[in-house]
């Protein structure tokens, strides 16, 4: 385990949250809720866990991260900018006609984006492909795939889950961002994907349920996943949609809505205090 400075990680994740709020406000478009819910996990991945180098975004030996819930791209762009994959100014072009940063992840034009996603349910299959290919080449690469708890209503996720276990992809770690909300409401009211842990377990995954905002728990779960052999791991991260901005927390309307000026200032001032 690398040196852990929880305070430092908290500081970084707070910076990433500000960047998310800035991007969505600036674009007047985007998905703040599901971006803020997965921010702490992304922080741990990019600043504690993954073998990556912002100067070599295409290094074939790097670990991979696939944001299958592609609408949370503001969190990914913010994390990549924070890590130095590209200049922070690029974030101003988020979702804009003359900007580089498309509304959903685009691997062709953004350094650090490992896969283009957006149509839900496809990222786990892609992750399996990368995990299989790296095993074929006997490379020690870890592949991380983040799914939404609404996203797993897509049937392809379970085709892919079968594949992950069938091919014993122990270099694969799935994270389910379980914020309990999807566009039309609470997960269990719209289309119940629970029990999530039991589902992945029965598909042949090693499963761990954690508080997705507790840095120690996140780190320990990733460390545990690395030790699992012959099986993929699924981390069910209990999270809060809109985490970090009081009026967005657990509010479904902030799935895909931009703040007005007043809301923006309130969000930033809340994050400044942390």
């Amino acid at each position: 385990m690398k040196n852990i400075d929880i305070k430092e990680l908290e500081k970084i994740s707070n910076e990433i949250r500000k960047k998310i709020i800035n991007q969505v406000y600036n674009a007047q478009s985007g998905h703040p809720g599901g971006s803020l819910s997965c921010t702490d996990i992304l922080t741990v991945l990019y600043f504690n866990q993954m073998n990556i180098n912002p100067k070599e975004p295409k290094n074939p030996d790097r670990d991979r991260f696939i944001l299958s819930k592609g609408h949370a791209v503001a969190a990914l762009y913010a994390t990549l900018a924070q890590k130095g994959f590209f200049e922070e100014e690029e974030l101003l072009g988020f979702r804009k006609i003359d900007g580089k940063l498309q509304g959903h992840p685009d691997m062709k034009n953004v350094p650090g984006v490992d896969m283009s996603t957006g149509s839900l349910g496809q990222g786990l299959s892609v992750s399996n492909g990368i995990a299989l290919a790296s095993k074929l080449d006997k490379k020690e690469i870890r592949v991380y795939c983040m799914l939404g708890d609404g996203e797993i209503e897509e049937g392809q996720i379970w085709e892919a889950a079968m594949t992950s276990a069938h091919y014993k992809l122990d270099n694969l770690c799935v994270i389910v961002d379980n914020n309990n909300l999807q566009i039309d409401g609470e997960i269990d009211k719209v289309m119940n994907s629970y029990p999530i842990e039991e589902k992945f377990k029965s598909f042949g995954f090693h499963t761990i349920t954690i508080n997705g905002h507790d840095f120690m728990q996140i780190i320990e779960a990733f460390e545990e996943a690395k030790k699992v052999k012959e099986k993929p791991t699924a981390i069910i991260a209990k999270t809060i949609k809109g985490k970090g901005v009081s009026y967005m927390e657990n509010k479904v309307e902030w799935h895909g809505k931009a703040t007005n000026k007043e809301e923006y200032q309130k969000a930033i001032s809340e994050l400044m205090k942390k």
Partner: protein
């Protein structure tokens, strides 16, 4: 086409019994694909093959037998398979992916669009069992819309070889193209058209003959029908030429326009819907660049049905005789 003797030949037969090749041999393009893919696998270790529980029918089982560690059976899960192939390509492998055309282009369309074409990933989709010549399995298994669906996707290139030699060439050639390709293959055994040393060029139609009474533009399994029609018409003093369109996208605009200028009539024929396929591609070119009437032969806004392949070709009017009649119409 019914009077040829059918041989299902494999590599072993090829080596041991050369005399087979000298007779009029029939071989399905899926068989040519399977054999050539296995040959290619030996030369290029970067190639991996994925199939969805149909490897004995798509003939990827030949590769699987030779290179078991580079063959991945994905089970009956085509959407997962296409996105997994995208992952292999994102990593740097060259995945060849096979299943029936209806399950590749149809069932996994969104995966092809969003996971493969949008990021321009190097996935080779080789789909077998296209068209009504699938035969007895009927409409659910007869893909008549795949050319239409695949050619509208940005970054995608679409190929539809007409015989064994052309299939082997295209299977090799697409491994050199960086980006997604769709290769349309057939279940039905069909005669060899070209000699082993024939050459082809991506995006360039193969012109057979230079008659001026009509140009018959064909792709895939109907090309042999067109060739037979050409021979029979010659006996009656009618001279046509054939454009064998192995590349549907990018389409060979130059040759289409030249033939429209040089010949009296343009007829297209395909074992595919007349909506959106080869015929539509030709119409798009001519209506913009050299307006001329085009007759589109193919399946007219219908689903297929069960029957023997040859019976279905007659039923849907895509045989030698149908071409002859169309050429003779004023």
């Amino acid at each position: 086409m019914l009077n040829y003797k059918i041989y299902y030949i494999n590599n072993k037969d090829r080596k041991e019994n050369k005399s087979i090749m000298e007779e009029k041999v029939k071989i399905a393009t899926r068989q040519s694909y399977g054999e050539e893919l296995a040959n290619l696998g030996k030369e290029n270790e970067n190639i991996v093959v994925l199939d969805a529980d149909l490897s004995t029918a798509t003939k990827t089982n030949i590769f699987a037998k030779k290179f078991p560690n580079r063959f991945f059976d994905m089970g009956i899960a085509e959407q997962d398979m296409l996105s997994t192939a995208a992952g292999f390509a994102a990593y740097g492998k060259i995945p060849y992916v096979s299943t029936f055309a209806v399950f590749a282009a149809g069932r996994a369309y969104d995966q092809i669009r969003n996971s493969i074409c949008y990021p321009n990933l190097n996935v080779k989709i080789c789909a077998t069992h296209s068209g009504i010549t699938v035969g007895e399995d009927g409409a659910t298994h007869q893909m008549l819309e795949d050319i239409a669906m695949m050619r509208v996707l940005p970054n995608m290139k679409v190929f539809s070889p007409s015989d064994d030699v052309q299939t082997r060439w295209i299977i090799r050639e697409v491994s050199k193209i960086e980006g997604p390709v769709y290769v349309r293959l057939c279940r039905l055994a069909s005669p060899k058209i070209y000699s082993e040393n024939e050459t082809f060029e991506i995006g360039k139609a193969k012109q057979i003959g230079d008659g001026i009474d009509a140009t018959v533009i064909s792709t895939g399994i109907t090309t042999n029908e067109a060739i037979n029609a050409k021979k029979q018409l010659e006996k009656e003093g009618i001279f046509i030429r054939i454009l064998d369109m192995h590349t549907i996208k990018p389409i060979d605009e130059e040759t289409i326009i030249r033939c429209a200028k040089e010949t009296k009539k343009i007829i297209t024929i395909e074992d595919h819907s007349t909506l959106g396929g080869l015929g539509s591609s030709v119409c798009e070119v001519l209506s913009e660049k050299y307006p001329k009437k085009v007759v589109r032969m193919g399946i007219k806004n219908k689903f297929g049905k069960s029957g023997k392949a040859e019976e279905l070709m007659k039923y849907f009017k895509i045989t030698t005789q149908d071409i002859i009649e169309e050429v003779k119409k004023i």
